[in-house]
Symmetry: D3
Subunit: 129 residues, 6 copies
């Protein structure tokens, strides 16, 4: 393992990359997307976010992804990430009906407007019922 | 069914009250806690939040509760609600390890400080491992 | 009254629909906009948000609408809802000058950037002075 | 008028101080509260926040104060400011019932938990019904 | 000095206008941009934000601007302001590498999604490495 | 290097621990504080937050810490973290006057109430002028 910018990557980054692929997110695309600004930060996302947090076994990926949708909806202004994670949540095994139920659930705790924004993205991204 | 302030309650409010009891939250305590300020608002919480949103069958209560913890952690400043919902999430069938994994999951998307606050509440509220 | 998905609606939903029409918001358009994802959630908005909260008589609609603009501006990222509610606030009887004063008032408590975003929407939506 | 730290204050700061007194907030207490850290910042609050924003005539103080309660509730974590502004809103002419209606109104747009926090402060601060 | 709407401006507004020009922001464009809605508010921004807060000598402009980027990224939904302040931060003397390091620093405390949004703006606005 | 729960730690975690000590934050206390809930998460904070983000050389620690104060003030509800990071910012070389100027700077972009909360913590934590 070397720290950064070399051909070898840590085991944890490899684990993170696998988790991302399971979710239908291309780790190399994330790394390449940030690389014009910063060589290391994309690797940090793969290694740390997906290898050391999302990829831990204590909680299943489907529940994690539904929680991620709840967080992104609550934060607001994260429409591009919602789009990626709506697809990833389907890949993790949640159904369209579960995802919609999750998004409307957020209304109770974070209000209607944030949910309407998320439903707007869901309408474009989710497959027809 | 009558609209408000009478002895009879709507079927939906009855359903909401049952959902709350399943989660170990006393609907009458919520109504009584708000009543000195407003007679109706506590009923609105029972009827709509728990009867018309949380209590819908499309998503199981355990996943809903884990999502609620994610939302409350992301919002911040909701320590009293976190305390109630940490207990409710255990009641809904999530394990201590799943709850902790959910709280640390939030760090990826909403940052470390909000998570540290939530873990501080969890340390007080969750049963020992 | 039946719970959902039938021809009859609760008295409270009827009240909510009237409040929405007073504000120039079409309740059927809201219900139809969400229906491809969820049959019930649009009704929940009409019945609960407008029938059981916004439509209560303790506070006048003009003040409620100005407060709604303050909330949406503070939340941020709610430009589509701001557009709807700027028009609704005019319908509720607030003047253009009052609305602009309300939006700039938010700067003191939630900062300049959120207000600049809201003023950008207001410039498009409000009638000329 | 001199810029800062002298005996004379600008007309705008005098106007801001009057607005604060109308609301039952002591401008000298605000200035003195911040002075151990910064001589100027308290004057900035009096002069600009209350003299140049809150004190403008385009919108009445009662509506402004109700909007301020909506903003503070939406922001969350502003319990000390809520306490001050609940009293100020009564001074500006809003009734207890209007204030409670405003706080519950926020639930529609920013969710229940923030409102429960604000109602907790209101229960302590508002006079009995 | 007169209060508002006249040809003369306060010394503090003149100071604010100079600070803005140092940062490459045109004070007259800001005033003119808001003027169709409100004659005074643009002047408040120049005088109060830039003359009485940003323009104070206790902290250098480069550090202030990097902090402003951190605040705007944390708030979210402030892409237009980020664009302006990314350019202003370069004008204040920060390097491209420092700005990117600042934006990725925010990830630790406010999460990855807000940072990805800010990096998206930075990729468009910052000069090539 | 091994992944977790063993005696050896990665080079990056060692680097993170050094950065924390430079800031007067005890890495072992952070790890021990979280350990009753989760063995790994404290290490994640040391290794990734301080080793892979805060500890990168592209931006100096003093500027990073001032930005961290800006982020925590903007988030709100992070008073315990503000207390830790106010001390850390002094350790990183910022003066009391610079820290106060940074906190009041936030008012322009995130509003007065969040800043008043942060100044309240600063009054307790910062050494006398």
């Amino acid at each position: 393992m070397t720290e950064t910018g070399t051909a070898t990557v840590s085991e944890r980054e490899q684990h993170g990359a696998e988790v991302m692929r399971t979710l239908g997110i291309d780790p190399n695309a994330v790394i390449a997307g940030v690389a014009p600004l910063d060589e290391r930060f994309g690797h940090t996302i793969v290694e740390y976010i997906f290898g050391d947090i999302v990829g831990r076994p204590e909680l299943d990926l489907r529940t994690r992804q539904l929680a991620t949708l709840a967080i992104l909806t609550t934060l607001g202004g994260c429409e591009p990430q919602l789009e990626t994670h709506l697809r990833a949540t389907l890949r993790a095994g949640a159904t369209r009906a579960e995802i919609v139920a999750l998004l409307t659930h957020v209304a109770a705790y974070a209000g209607i407007p944030k949910v309407m924004n998320a439903l707007g993205v869901a309408k474009r991204v989710l497959p027809p019922a």
